[in-house]
């Protein structure tokens, strides 16, 4: 998807609502949302989100592009899919939030860049692209040291009890990270996937 959503000129700009309807997978289902609140109520992180999915959807429909893409709701989703299962209107809630998160990163929103989830995802992606596997130790290191050495060590210290616990029960292995045998093949697959993604989407599902 190479689409960049319309640049908003004012707080309420319906061109963004139309863009989501057309270009986000399942975005057309947002028209069916009846604001019942089951998604936000089902969310295990509902109390920590600033807006929650229900309000986010209303904001999309109101065309509040900046407020939607700056929101931490996009980043606090833990993908439990309670909302998707329970939504009485078949709105793919979690999927829409994930895709909006991608949009927020692509369009350079600072809040998205600063988001801890985004930083973690970067480590995760780096690991599977490099080794074809995710190595928890390397992903954690990548995540901890993104903001510099000092803050990295600080975070490491904060989590030392968990690390020691893992070590005790033998869940923290030493040695080289596990790696895929045919990494070159994987790279080809990822390149092909990126090429497909770069093609203009037909919009909708």
């Amino acid at each position: 998807m190479t689409y960049i959503s319309p640049r908003s000129t004012r707080k309420y700009d319906l061109s963004f609502a139309r863009w989501v309807h057309r270009h986000i997978n399942g975005g057309d289902r947002l028209a069916m949302c009846m604001q019942c609140g089951v998604c936000s109520g089902s969310c295990p992180l509902g109390t920590t989100m600033d807006n929650g999915p229900r309000k986010t959807f209303m904001m999309i429909r109101a065309g509040m592009k900046d407020d939607v893409l700056q929101s931490d709701t996009l980043w606090n989703c833990v993908s439990c899919y309670n909302c998707v299962v329970r939504c009485p209107r078949d709105v793919p809630v979690a999927y829409i939030l994930h895709e909006l998160a991608t949009v927020a990163v692509r369009e350079g929103y600072v809040q998205a860049k600063r988001s801890a989830t985004n930083k973690f995802v970067k480590g995760f992606t780096w690991s599977y692209k490099t080794f074809g596997r995710t190595d928890e130790r390397l992903v954690s290191m990548f995540y901890y040291f993104q903001d510099g050495l000092a803050s990295g060590f600080k975070k490491l210290l904060a989590f030392r009890h968990i690390a020691l616990g893992f070590l005790k029960v033998g869940r923290l292995p030493f040695g080289m990270p596990h790696s895929l045998r045919h990494r070159r093949e994987l790279r080809k697959i990822l390149a092909a996937a990126a090429a497909i993604e770069a093609q203009p989407a037909k919009g909708g599902r």
Partner: protein, 419 residues
């Protein structure tokens, strides 16, 4: 204009609830012969199971009594209870309907003295109370049963006790040998008034209806509030039999939901308003919270809605609850998001009433007759079967007064088919 003269001018009404009774009486009172088939042992259907009607809060027994009188006095009406349609052949003006009768084991000269029920010891679930209470295996369906005759539950047949029950009847009205029978009716038009069933609340798994005793449905609430119900009209928590102090009424439980019933049943909002009124009448200090997406109190019902909403002890919470959890003391805890304040709540209650919707009985039960239905299972007019009509909730989700209007319309259409 009909192409040919109808072979039969009799009109068959399938279902003896308020819609079926109204259709039959409207037909009969114009002078046409009408036959009512009812699956249950008594007429009255769901209306007989209600405590009161909204918005005037009058008792349905009153209207039913008038209608039963009209049936009794009208020579054009014939009633077959415990009967279902097994097959329909023919066309408009000339149908042959095969009727299957399940045995009642009690002959028509039963005087409803109740001696059989007094000696019967076997208990069976009482369908009239939606299984909230038990009844003896020889029973009168309810005080206003029409016809006023006892019924022997099929579970009793073949047991040693059955002979005792038979011997207890001093009018020799019990026939344990009665078998299922079929017979044919020749009719000119057929009206389906098969009504509805409450949506199965166990299927709404986040609401834990199957696990929490104090989570009940709106039809069960009607029985709890009714004088002839399991608690003799006192609304009590099913788990401990105590007075509820905090009650939640949850709207759209399985309605307007693509995972359950996609449509609005139209009656549940007002039924819950009525339940709030029941509770407030019985308990001066009870607090009632109504969880809703939006309240659908159409046309003249708005006044009743206003009356309830203005009650300081009734709180309206705009939210469809996401879940009902099991609290530390085993009480129901309603969880969700208040969509006006964005507050994530979890509130404990003594009693939670789920406002479940109506599902058309015709589509719920394995029917031997193939009729045209809409996406939701309600019977719609069929050009190929233009002598078959539908009335009441068989045709769409309606309240009682609208069902009666629909029944009158169906009666008129049926008469036009046999004229």
């Amino acid at each position: 204009m009909p192409e040919s003269q109808p072979r039969s001018q009799i009109i068959l009404v399938v279902g003896g609830g308020i819609s079926g009774i109204t259709t039959a009486l409207e037909v009969a009172e114009t002078g046409y012969d009408v036959v009512i088939l009812e699956k249950a042992p008594t007429l009255g259907g769901r209306v007989a199971q209600l405590n009161r009607y909204f918005p005037k809060l009058c008792h349905p027994t009153c209207g039913l009594e008038i209608n039963f009188q009209r049936i009794r006095k009208n020579p054009h009406v014939t009633v077959f209870t415990m009967s279902t349609v097994a097959a329909i052949h023919g066309e408009r003006g000339d149908y042959t309907v095969t009727v299957r009768r399940t045995p009642r084991y009690v002959k028509p000269h039963c005087t409803a003295c109740g001696d059989c029920a007094r000696v019967a010891e076997m208990k069976v679930q009482n369908p009239f109370d939606y299984g909230l209470g038990d009844m003896t295996a020889a029973y009168l369906p309810h005080e206003m049963a029409f016809p006023m005759r006892y019924v022997i539950a099929p579970q009793l047949i073949g047991t040693h006790e059955a002979e005792n029950v038979k011997a207890a009847c001093k009018y020799n009205a019990i026939d344990l040998e009665e078998k299922e029978s079929t017979f044919d009716l020749h009719v000119g038009a057929i009206v389906w008034a098969t009504g509805w069933q409450p949506y199965d609340a166990t299927r709404i798994s986040p609401y834990r209806y199957a696990y929490l005793k104090d989570v009940i449905t709106n039809v069960e609430m009607e029985r709890l509030a009714a004088n002839n119900g399991p608690t003799h009209g006192q609304i009590l928590c099913p788990s401990n039999g105590e007075f509820p102090k905090n009650v939640a009424l949850v709207q759209c439980a399985g309605s307007r939901d693509h995972n359950h019933l996609p449509y609005c049943s139209r009656i549940c909002c007002l039924a819950s308003m009525k339940h709030a009124a029941y509770l407030r009448e019985q308990y001066a200090d009870v607090r009632v919270d109504i969880y809703y997406i939006d309240i659908r109190a159409h046309d003249k019902l708005e006044a009743f809605y206003r009356k309830i909403v203005n009650d300081p002890q009734v709180r309206m919470i705009k939210s469809k609850p996401a879940e009902i959890r099991i609290g530390t003391a085993g009480e129901p805890v309603v969880c969700g998001e208040n969509t006006l304040t964005r507050h994530i709540y979890s509130n404990s209650y003594d009693l939670v009433v789920l406002a479940t919707g109506m599902q058309p009985s015709y589509s719920m039960n394995e029917s031997l007759v193939n009729l045209k239905t809409d996406d939701y299972g309600f019977i719609v007019p069929d050009a190929d079967k233009n002598g078959i009509f539908s009335a009441g909730v068989a045709a769409g989700p309606l309240d009682v007064s609208m069902s009666v209007q629909s029944a009158t319309a169906a009666a008129l259409k049926a008469i036009q088919a046999v004229i």
